[in-house]
């Protein structure tokens, strides 16, 4: 009986450590690649309501942008994010913004201050709080801002693009290629997306 108990304990310990190991493996580096199916979520919006992508029955897809209040690169892209929502919401691709930062580390990104920022800048899109930081690691977001274009397909939300909004995050006047616009224009006209993943300057996510 004692031996059995010991065996049981060993099994528990081993499985527990295996679980921890798995958790360690799911770092942002293991996030989505273009072509993967993205998870839906249920996150709290600045109006207090929970928002899921499944709520958008009419949408063809989404422009999911991990962004925040405090990152100066995010701030410098706010107008561009507003412009994306204005242009593509009516065409079936609304912007859904998610703040991935931990307010205990970055107090300026608290839920209360998200409300303030959204009001100041008159956000036309949901601005969701990744409470507990469970969603951004699944997507593999590594910075703010970081954009994911998702398209509704039969088997789920297919990742079509990952990266920057355009090729000059610091200076809008120097933008030559608008990656997100080009990708959605291609999706809307059923053409292949020329550039499906890009890199852009941003702030590390505060964990």
């Amino acid at each position: 009986m004692k031996k059995l108990k010991l065996l049981l304990l060993t099994v528990i310990v081993v499985s527990a450590s295996a679980f921890t190991f798995n958790k360690e493996l799911s770092t942002p580096k293991d996030g989505y690649k273009v072509g993967d199916i993205a998870t839906d979520f249920s996150l709290k919006n600045i109006d207090g309501r929970m928002v899921s992508l499944a709520d958008y029955k009419e949408a063809k897809g989404f422009i999911v942008i991990f962004t925040c209040n405090t990152c100066p690169v995010s701030v410098r892209n706010e107008e561009r994010i507003l412009a994306l929502d204005k242009k593509y919401k009516s065409l079936g691709y609304p912007v859904v913004a998610i703040n991935p930062n931990n307010p205990a580390v970055q107090p300026g990104d608290s839920y209360a201050l998200m409300k303030v920022r959204a009001k100041e800048k008159k956000f036309t899109f949901p601005y969701l709080f990744d409470d507990g930081q469970k969603i951004f690691p699944q997507y593999g977001a590594s910075a703010t801002p970081h954009t994911y274009i998702l398209k509704k397909e039969k088997d789920g939300l297919r990742v079509k693009y990952i990266g920057g909004i355009d090729d000059s995050s610091r200076n809008e006047a120097n933008v030559k290629t608008k990656f997100v616009e080009d990708a959605i224009d291609a999706l809307l006209s059923n053409k292949p997306i020329k550039v499906t993943s890009t890199r852009a300057i941003g702030c590390s996510i505060k964990v």
């Binding site: 590594s142 970081h146 920057g164 090729d167 550039v195 852009a200 300057i201 941003g202």
Partner: protein, 182 residues
């Protein structure tokens, strides 16, 4: 010789010595001032480069030094936190050459970057990378880098590693140690 004349001679000699000492002090302090001025001047000149101009500095192979290239910005809090460790590395170790590549907003060069470098009296070379085609050059700096700050490249003529992360003082010294052993 009357006493007063003798006294006068001693006095005038004292004055002369005093004058010489004064003169030397002034010259030396001037020299010291000049030195400080030169150092500040060095920091005043922050080169603004595009990626083509930066690239040779990421690939210096004709020396035995450990080259540390830190990508940072004045607006990046974790960058500012780790900056003293890079400064320390640069000043305390002749075998380590640190370059601080700023990704500050080019239109904030005068108002943010220059004052920051002056105020903090940074001794490592500071360069502003102003190149709009970031999607291209971020990948060329390192394929694993998505563009989040801070990030650091450490290399010698034999070894190269890229860190898309921030460092603690100990963590940075540990990594440098790995390069020293080669």
């Amino acid at each position: 010789m009357p006493d007063y004349l003798f006294l006068y001679m001693i006095y005038s000699q004292k004055v002369r010595i005093f004058a010489i000492v004064c003169f030397i002090t002034v010259v030396f302090s001037c020299k010291r001032e000049a030195k400080t001025a030169v150092k500040t001047q060095e920091n005043d000149v922050i080169e603004v480069v595009n990626f083509t101009e930066l690239e040779p500095l990421l690939n210096i192979k004709d020396d035995d030094k450990i080259h540390v290239v830190n990508f940072w910005a004045t607006w990046c809090a974790p960058c500012i936190k780790e900056l003293p460790y890079f400064e320390e590395l640069h000043t305390a170790n002749n075998n380590v050459e640190v370059i601080l590549v700023s990704l500050d907003f080019p239109d904030k060069f005068e108002s943010q970057l220059i004052p920051f470098v002056k105020e903090n009296n940074l001794s490592a070379q500071v360069i502003l990378l102003d190149d709009p085609n970031e999607n291209k050059w971020i990948a060329e700096i390192d394929a694993s880098w998505q563009g989040a700050l801070p990030a650091t490249l450490i290399y010698t003529n034999a070894k190269r590693a890229f860190y898309a992360q921030s460092f603690t003082r100990e963590g940075l010294l540990e990594e440098i140690e790995k390069f020293t052993k080669i």
